[in-house]
């Protein structure tokens, strides 16, 4: 059972209170973008064995979207953070580096 702390209401929410929102920090390429950029935005996703960044929503709760960093192998949760950012917080990256030396996820390492 996955438990994530909602950064907005502080609840330690278990999986059934949450809904998964897919990969975090996608940059949208909409009308006017190149076919290659649009394809990448639309279809290409990370599929890491290890550290992953995701969007989650506290659906059966305060209703807010937030971000989470966790390990897809062990389900270890490194932290959750606000949705109002396009990059993971520096302290969280520090925490992950300590737990998983040498990790790399897109441009973050």
């Amino acid at each position: 059972m996955l438990t994530l702390q909602c950064p907005y209401c502080g609840v330690m929410a278990e999986e059934t209170e949450l809904s998964a929102g897919g990969e975090a920090h996608l940059k949208r390429f909409g009308p006017g973008s190149s076919d290659a950029d649009f394809e990448t935005y639309m279809f290409m996703r990370e599929n890491p064995k290890g550290v992953h960044f995701e969007r989650w929503r506290h659906a059966n709760g305060c209703g807010k979207w937030f971000h989470a960093a966790r390990c897809t192998v062990t389900l270890e949760v490194f932290g959750t953070y606000t949705a109002q950012t396009s990059v993971p917080p520096a302290e969280l990256l520090e925490t992950i580096r300590a737990a998983r030396p040498g990790f790399k996820w897109r441009e973050f390492e």
Partner: protein
């Protein structure tokens, strides 16, 4: 004018706890910047309470109270007969500011769970730590009960109030009734 009636017209059931549908209550969903002093003042005046609730708290009660719903949302409780006037009052007091107040009274159902073991009735159906250390009077959770969204708070010892969408009122009542059925006591807390 047709006669307003609540989802189960006051149905109740007696298990090891009493589960009751509590009839019509005025409920106003409010969205806005909860740190705004003018908004807080207007809401407190309408609900007859001293201050807005803290995160995951309830202040006051069904006849006049405010429940925390999210970082930018509250549920204001007023007597059913006054709800239309109270929404008008909010809209005129706060005219020009960025907020939203909607009368949702007829779209919600209200239940009471009362009696020794009331914590258990909820603990069995919600993913929430209902131990006496973790959940005390005035505490509120917006969560789910089995398959449907609900919010509940502890009104006093062995006494909880729960709101959910009216469309699932029948489901909620049956669910709580089964959870409170005699023979189903767990005695964990």
């Amino acid at each position: 004018m047709s006669e307003a009636i609540s989802v189960l017209a006051g149905a109740n059931t007696e298990g090891f706890c009493r589960v009751s549908e509590l009839g019509l209550h005025g409920m106003i969903t409010v969205r806005g910047d909860l740190s705004n002093a003018d908004l807080a003042k207007a809401l407190c005046a309408v609900a007859g309470v001293d201050a807005l609730p803290e995160v995951r708290k309830m202040v006051g009660g069904l006849e006049g109270g405010i429940a925390w719903m999210s970082p930018d949302e509250l549920m204001v409780f007023v007597p059913y007969a006054q709800v239309v006037d109270k929404v008008d009052e909010l809209n005129s007091t706060l005219a020009g500011s960025h907020f939203l107040a909607v009368n949702v009274s007829d779209a919600r159902a209200v239940f009471g769970i009362d009696g020794a073991g009331a914590r258990e009735v909820i603990a069995k159906v919600a993913p929430v730590d209902m131990s006496p250390e973790a959940f005390t009077t005035g505490d509120l959770r917006r969560t789910r009960i089995a398959q449907v969204a609900a919010a509940f708070w502890m009104a006093g010892d062995d006494s909880f109030r729960l709101i959910c969408f009216r469309s699932v009122g029948d489901y909620a009542f049956k669910l709580l009734s089964v959870s409170a059925a005699k023979g189903g006591e767990v005695g964990y807390f």
